[in-house]
């Protein structure tokens, strides 16, 4: 039984953690929050230069060639420090879509530039839920038309992987016929945009998998990686809340000595640790490309989404009034839990995917 990360993997995690503690500071995150920049450039540059962001991209495509277990731990730290960077867009989603579904030429052309941070890539592969009446993207005769309603990092991305009917298509966003509109998000530290296409040249990703299967496979991997970000964020807000409860006094005592708060934090810890082991299991399935991946990914997604949401909500509650102020960082975690929890579809859609697999298995 070896259900844990190796010492070398933990070493990488420690290095990333130290770097992010120094650079992904509250002040830096707030530059993005206030719209002064689209992402934290120094944090991004450091994640690229350390080989952390491209941990799972093979060396033959310019990556660090480490693996998914390493990338999972990078993700945990990115989540813990609320890193306001396009890590999920470029690496969990776009690079993965290229790796799993791109032709050799497409991989050679784009992956090294993504890995080296020369360009930012993004992907919008669609959840099951929508509200905005968006005409579906149409891909025909090598051109893409229509609208992608919500694309993370859409204002700064150079390359996008989008779902058009049964295809996943690759679009160079510097091509003609592309217009972008910034959107206002509940988590402004992770900006989103609307992309419009008018007869824009695009290429299909035509690997061995059909479009829908390819999208599902990429989303499963992203669910695991995002679960690590969620677990990292949930653990951090618990730490912050615990520390505050030991400092703050009311009724002549540390508020952390009241059983109501002790039990609340024990509950947060319990949900966090359940989410953590589901994320670990997802990491194993992703790294081993195991047949259990769809089940493990859905379980990690649901457990981590609910845990982070709960931790972020209760973290503010533990702080009391001060937690509701703009100056305290509590709301940054609440906002990030919202962003991560919906980026690739809500927990409800993923819970039903999980149930469907369990029911099929039990047939």
């Amino acid at each position: 039984m070896n259900f844990d990360f190796s010492d070398d993997q933990r070493l990488l995690q420690d290095e990333v953690r130290k770097m992010l503690a120094d650079t992904s500071t509250s002040a830096e995150i707030r530059r993005v929050l206030d719209g002064r920049t689209a992402y934290a450039e120094t944090v991004w540059r450091n994640l690229i230069d350390m080989g952390a962001a491209a941990a799972a991209i093979p060396e033959s495509y310019g990556g660090a060639g480490l693996g998914y277990l390493e990338l999972c731990l990078v993700a945990e730290e990115a989540g813990r420090h609320l890193a306001p960077v396009p890590l999920a867009s470029s690496f969990y989603l776009a690079a993965e879509a290229l790796l799993k579904g791109g032709s050799e030429a497409q991989k050679q052309r784009w992956l090294p530039r993504i890995a080296r941070g020369e360009l930012i890539a993004t992907a919008a592969l669609g959840g099951g839920e929508t509200y905005l009446a968006t005409p579906a993207l149409r891909f025909a005769d090598g051109t893409l038309s229509g609208r992608a309603a919500v694309v993370a990092d859409g204002m700064v991305a150079r390359l996008a992987v989008l779902r058009a009917g049964d295809d996943l298509v690759l679009v160079d966003l510097q091509s003609p016929g592309v217009t972008r509109k910034p959107l206002s998000s509940l988590d402004p530290t992770r900006p989103q945009a609307e992309l419009n296409f008018s007869a824009t040249p695009a290429e299909p990703l035509r690997g061995e998998m059909r479009g829908a299967d390819l999208a599902a496979r990429v989303l499963d991997g992203a669910a695991v990686l995002l679960a690590f970000e969620q677990v990292g964020g949930a653990a951090r807000i618990l730490d912050i809340s615990r520390d505050y409860s030991l400092e703050r006094k009311a009724f002549g005592r540390q508020i952390g000595s009241f059983q109501a708060l002790k039990h609340k934090m024990a509950d947060i810890y319990t949900r966090n640790e359940l989410a953590r082991v589901h994320a670990y299991y997802g990491a194993w399935a992703l790294a081993a490309d195991a047949p259990e991946l769809p089940l493990a990914a859905a379980a990690a997604r649901v457990a981590a989404t609910t845990a982070y949401k709960h931790a972020a909500e209760e973290g503010i509650e533990i702080h009391g009034g001060i937690g509701f102020t703009w100056e305290m960082d509590c709301h940054l975690y609440l906002r990030r839990s919202r962003h991560l929890g919906q980026l690739i579809g809500s927990e409800h859609a993923w819970r039903d995917r999980l149930a469907q697999q369990l029911i099929t298995e039990a047939a």
Partner: protein, 406 residues
């Protein structure tokens, strides 16, 4: 990261499997139990015979040091043996307290001649031990013990009542915590003893549980005499001895849940109709199926992390402390929802609605006990908050006051 044995672990597992195949009887179904059809005396004799066979083969005290009669093996070997044995019809809840708590306490604190007299017999199952700490007024607060130990020359005279004693009715000896000094604060006036369960003045009465079973007893102690040589540790040192007893439980890897909970739920939901359609097609039912899996598999994975630490020769991490809390509540919530699937019919007992429902009904009736046993949910949350998260302990008003004044 993987879920495989190391080569040494695989070799040990192979050896255990071979031995069990030769000597054990494989269970035919999940609900088959050891000694079905035997009366209590015959069942106990069969259990003792099995334990003796295990002891001869070196599987009864795997992790104990050789000088105590054990094998000097690793915690992981113990876990591997238990995993393999689970597929066989073996006695349960008979030797656990002897081997897990009482005999290690004897090995640490008893006089050499008593160790020589009891350890080998205990390992071989000739003697069975129980643990007598809890009392009607000392449950979560073990320090509140009121059973009285009075010294008279070279003997002690014991009077009082113990509660929730597992297996007292078939045990030969017990370790008993009693109050020897009423002028000291609660935890400082306690002393630990070896009690002969057949001694004059010991009366045992089974507790009739709400589930219908009787796994525990009340033990009444009326002028029971214990020689001072049978004291464990110093006079008024009982609290420290008790903590050492509970330390030996650290190998027990916490609560666990049956792995088939969600499949049983799916099976029942397929058989029930909701508004003319199989209940399994309803989104609410599907959400419960997913959540049941998340809890059950989550606990299993936390245990896998604990085993990973053991496999590397380390202590399991703090996350192990949540398993009992999660498992007991999950058992209650999942079984409760399962019964609801059948609407008004689901409130019938399995004798009327059918055998399909027996399993979930048993879990539902047993869950309140599981939530209380070994620490209520609230005690477990205090443990997590204080030991894992480093929160302040509860304010205690009774700590420095002589017990007789409380």
């Amino acid at each position: 990261m993987d879920f495989k044995d190391t080569p040494e672990e695989a070799a040990y597992r192979g050896q255990v499997r071979t031995w069990l195949e030769t000597h054990g009887q494989r269970r035919r179904s999940a609900d088959q139990v050891f000694g079905e059809g035997l009366d209590d005396a015959a069942k106990l004799a069969a259990a003792k015979a099995w334990q003796a066979r295990k002891a001869r083969a070196g599987y009864a005290a795997i992790t104990w040091p050789k000088e105590m009669g054990g094998q000097g093996g690793t915690a992981m070997q113990e876990v591997i043996y238990k995993q393999e044995e689970a597929a066989y019809l073996v006695p349960r809840m008979i030797f656990e307290n002897s081997l897990g708590q009482c005999l290690p306490t004897i090995a640490t604190w008893a006089l050499p001649e008593l160790k020589a007299r009891h350890l080998a017999k205990g390992i071989a199952g000739d003697e069975i031990w129980c643990q007598l700490f809890s009392e009607p007024a000392a449950g979560s607060d073990t320090g509140g013990i009121r059973t009285r130990a009075e010294k008279q020359g070279d003997h002690w005279v014991i009077n009082g009542q113990k509660a929730w004693t597992s297996g007292a009715h078939f045990c030969d000896y017990g370790i008993l915590l009693a109050r020897s000094d009423w002028d000291k604060p609660k935890q400082e006036g306690l002393t630990m003893f070896i009690l002969d369960m057949k001694a004059p003045g010991v009366a045992i009465r089974p507790i009739h549980q709400m589930s219908g079973e009787s796994e525990f007893n009340e033990v009444f102690l009326n002028d029971v005499r214990i020689a001072d040589t049978h004291r464990l540790g110093p006079e008024c040192g009982g609290w420290k001895v008790m903590l050492s007893t509970l330390m030996h439980e650290r190998l027990a890897v916490g609560g666990h849940l049956p792995t088939d909970l969600h499949t049983v739920l799916i099976d029942l939901a397929r058989k029930c109709q909701w508004n003319g359609k199989p209940a399994i097609e309803d989104a609410r039912v599907r959400a419960h199926v997913a959540d049941a899996f998340l809890l059950q598999h989550g606990v299993e994975l936390i245990i896998a992390r604990g085993l990973t630490a053991l496999s590397k020769g380390k202590a399991p991490g703090p996350e192990m402390s949540i398993t009992k809390l999660v498992a007991a509540k999950a058992m209650q919530d999942i079984s409760s929802f399962a019964l609801e699937l059948a609407g008004p019919e689901g409130a019938l007992s399995h004798e009327s609605i059918g055998q399909d429902w027996n399993y979930m009904q048993r879990l539902w009736l047993g869950a309140p006990g599981a939530r209380v046993a070994g620490g209520t949910d609230e005690v477990m949350k205090n443990v997590i908050a204080e030991r894992v998260l480093g929160m302040p302990g509860e304010i205690r008003t009774d700590r420095k006051i002589p017990f007789r004044e409380l």
